[in-house]
């Protein structure tokens, strides 16, 4: 195979590179680690199975360690390990087994809480139909492997953290494990229901810590941060952009929308950035990086931190430009600009995920909450953005959106009717030249297509016209069959026979 090697434009393409790495003979795909779809699916299942087993083994190991730790710190009167196997709460209740005395009260509060949570955060996704399979969107096996490693680390950190808490730590660990186990059996809940379960769990656990263990609100907050980290690291894969929602569709729509708005300038949004100042452009780049990084985090709080860091860089950029602290009137347009420049991956999914699984008080209050709210506003604004909001005429806006014109190439509006003035930048000159060539080509292409179409039409109508002609002729000269007459030639009447030479006679030589 390797001798069939092509060299094209400096890129070395080996035929064997294109085939499935498993050697099954089908073509592989880079997105599937060079495997064909079938082999990739098998590989993925294998890794996934392995990960489930690993997770389970680790959980057992951690549990044993934990038991040992408690046994050593609490003396021999501690419960035997066999009693601490994860409880199995009834399906339908997130974590109510050990909280049963709160159950009744919670139910009342739950109903109310749930309506408000829904009202303010997640646009309903209950109605979205559940798709059959989860496989299409799962990350590649190696990503899973890395994720599994991270998960292990998070679990270890969590146990280390809980060890310092003594008795409550033990219960928290049990609760969390039971909750995660319980959640894995609820794969087909809607996103809102998943969110409800997680939020209820947070609430129940916090209440229990406050009420039963008399923890201070400060330490509860600390614990809850750790709990969120532990739980969401494990649930991330199944609850981020779940198949039951149209999050993914919205992501694509937003991504395309932002792409179509690539021409929006600082001036149109009235952003106070002077990117000529190196320090400003540095902060702009950092802000863009931070908002893009959000997608790589798994814990809602870590995602929030990315948004906050991004926002602080924006504030710095504005402060350096304006030489005074930025107000909300400066900040929101600047954030919109950053989002347009960054086109952050899976923006809608991330917003939804944070909304559903972050501690809600963090979203509506606090500094992180302020920046998150602004990001939501920016995303909503970009969706609705029109000519007016950029101080453009509807015609200009349309031209820019359709790509017929770009505000960067030439300055004022009048230029669009007459040919654009020669740009000074050689790259732009080249670009313009290429554009001209392209438009010439597309003109010729059109003419060619037209000709081809008329040829095709001609060809199609030709047999018909021939048929018509034949028909007409047949009509004009109908075929008449005349009665057969007697043969005109009579052998006896052969007059010319005398003129004929005599027949040759064979002669013996």
């Amino acid at each position: 195979m390797s001798q069939r090697t092509e060299r094209r434009g400096g890129i070395h393409v080996d035929q064997s590179d294109l085939l499935c790495k498993k050697g099954c003979g089908y073509y592989g795909n880079a997105a599937w680690q060079g495997l064909c779809s079938k082999c990739w699916r098998e590989e993925y299942q294998r890794v996934r199975q392995k990960q489930i087993q690993d997770d389970w083994a680790l959980a057992e190991k951690l549990q044993r360690e934990e038991e040992a730790a408690y046994a050593s710190s609490h003396g021999p009167q501690t419960q035997p390990p066999s009693q601490s196997t994860p409880p199995h709460p009834q399906p339908g209740h997130a974590s109510l087994g050990p909280f049963s005395k709160f159950e009744e009260k919670k139910t009342n509060e739950k109903t109310r809480k749930v309506t408000t949570v829904k009202k303010f955060f997640s646009p309903s996704s209950r109605s979205a139909p559940k798709k059959e399979t989860q496989e299409g969107k799962t990350p590649s096996p190696s990503v899973s492997r890395r994720a599994s490693f991270d998960t292990d680390q998070v679990s270890k950190d969590f146990v280390d953290f809980l060890k310092n808490l003594q008795k409550p730590g033990r219960e928290i660990h049990k609760q969390c494990r039971a909750f995660i186990g319980n959640m894995s059996s609820k794969k087909d809940l809607s996103a809102d229901e998943l969110s409800e379960c997680v939020q209820d769990f947070y609430q129940n656990l916090a209440d229990r810590l406050m009420g039963h263990f008399k923890c201070s609100s400060e330490s509860v907050e600390q614990v809850m941060d750790q709990v969120e980290k532990y739980i969401m690291t494990r649930l991330y894969k199944s609850v981020f952009c779940p198949e039951t929602t149209d999050d993914e569709k919205k992501d694509l729509a937003t991504q395309n929308r932002i792409r179509a708005l690539h021409w929006v300038t600082i001036e149109m949004l009235c952003v106070s950035f002077d990117e000529e100042i190196p320090e400003v452009s540095e902060n702009v780049v950092k802000a863009i990086t931070d908002v893009i990084e959000m997608d790589s985090k798994r814990v809602p709080r870590d995602k929030l931190s990315c948004i906050t860091r991004c926002s602080k860089h924006i504030f710095s950029a504005i402060r350096i430009t304006k030489k005074e602290p930025a107000s909300a009137d400066d900040f929101l347009p600047a954030l919109i600009y950053i989002v347009l420049k960054a086109n952050p991956p899976r923006l809608q999914s991330n917003i939804q995920y944070i909304t559903r699984f972050c501690n809600p008080s963090r979203l509506m209050t606090g500094e992180d909450g302020y920046y998150f709210t602004n990001l939501c506003c920016a995303a909503a604004f970009i969706e609705k953005l029109d000519a007016q909001s950029l101080n453009l005429s509807p015609e200009e806006f349309e031209r820019y959106m359709s790509g017929q014109a770009s505000p960067r190439c030439s300055g004022s509006e009048e230029d669009w009717s007459s040919p654009a003035p020669a740009p000074t930048n050689p790259v732009l000159a080249q670009l313009n030249q290429n554009l001209e060539v392209l438009s010439g080509l597309s003109g010729r292409q059109e003419a060619l297509m037209e000709a081809a179409h008329s040829l095709q039409a001609d060809l199609l109508s030709w047999p018909e016209s021939v048929q018509h002609e034949v028909h007409d002729i047949l009509k004009k000269y109908p075929l008449e069959v005349l009665p057969r007459s007697a043969p005109a030639i009579d052998d006896n009447n052969d007059v010319d026979n005398d003129n004929l030479p005599p027949p040759l006679t064979p002669q013996v030589v």
Binding site: T116, A206, F315, A328, L332, N359, Y370
Partner: protein, 225 residues
């Protein structure tokens, strides 16, 4: 300011709770709404002038905090400034969800900002259960007497009609600004005490004392005075 400060008279349970421990610090979210140029950002800066020096220099004045000490509680105000330009109005409801106080600011020297404030009010009333949030009408730039287009009476009677509180301020001179913040603090705290569950609409935090779980405040003690 014209009106006397509302008295703090929480229910006995609340008083016993708060007296039995060191003074609690409660979080309160306050949103500034109003047209562009009415002086929202200037007011926010005025509210926080004491703390302003302490905040990190990179942070702007869009999100500020100010601590208010009342007799038996400390409120830590989170002040959310909003972009006033009309094109952002459609997204503004995102800012005031979960707010404990909303200041509706207009410019007494510009009638259109007063009209605009009424549009905001209508919007707010759609979102709120009565009494869940302290709504305060603020006529700013009271120092511009010679350019006044909205009289004190007009502001006051709009507030009376719609059940809001009303104050005229000057962010420029600082007149009434401190008193306004203190009055808002009292009012917010009073709502907590007086309305058992009345503000639970906004109570989304799991970090709440069990007995007080229906109140709007997270009992967050992280940031002291």
């Amino acid at each position: 300011m014209g009106e006397k400060l509302p008295q703090v008279q929480g229910d006995p349970q609340l008083r016993r709770d708060t007296l039995s421990r060191p003074v609690r610090t409660l979080r309160a979210k306050m949103v500034l709404l109003g047209s562009s140029g009415v002086g929202k950002s200037s007011l926010a800066l005025r509210f926080c002038k004491d703390e302003f020096r302490n905040t990190s220099p990179t942070v702007g004045c869009a999100y500020l905090t100010q601590v208010m000490h009342l007799s038996d509680v400390t409120l830590r105000f989170e002040i959310w400034d909003t972009a006033g330009e009309e094109k952002y109005h459609s997204v503004t409801p995102l800012y005031y969800r979960g707010a404990h106080a909303a200041l509706l600011v207009y410019d007494v020297s510009k009638r259109d900002t007063f009209i605009r404030a009424q549009v905001w009010l209508r919007e707010l009333e759609k979102q709120y259960v009565a009494g869940s949030t302290v709504l305060w009408l603020v006529g700013n730039k009271g120092d511009l007497a010679q350019h006044r287009q909205v009289s004190v009476q007009e502001g006051q009677s709009l507030a009376n009609d719609r059940g809001l509180l009303f104050t005229e301020t000057s962010a420029l001179s600082g007149d009434q600004v401190d008193k306004l913040l203190l009055a808002v603090a009292h009012r917010v705290y009073e709502c907590v005490g007086a309305q058992q569950g009345g503000l639970s609409e906004w109570q989304e935090t799991p970090h709440v004392d069990l007995r007080r779980r229906n109140h709007l405040f997270a009992s967050c003690c992280k940031v002291g005075p």
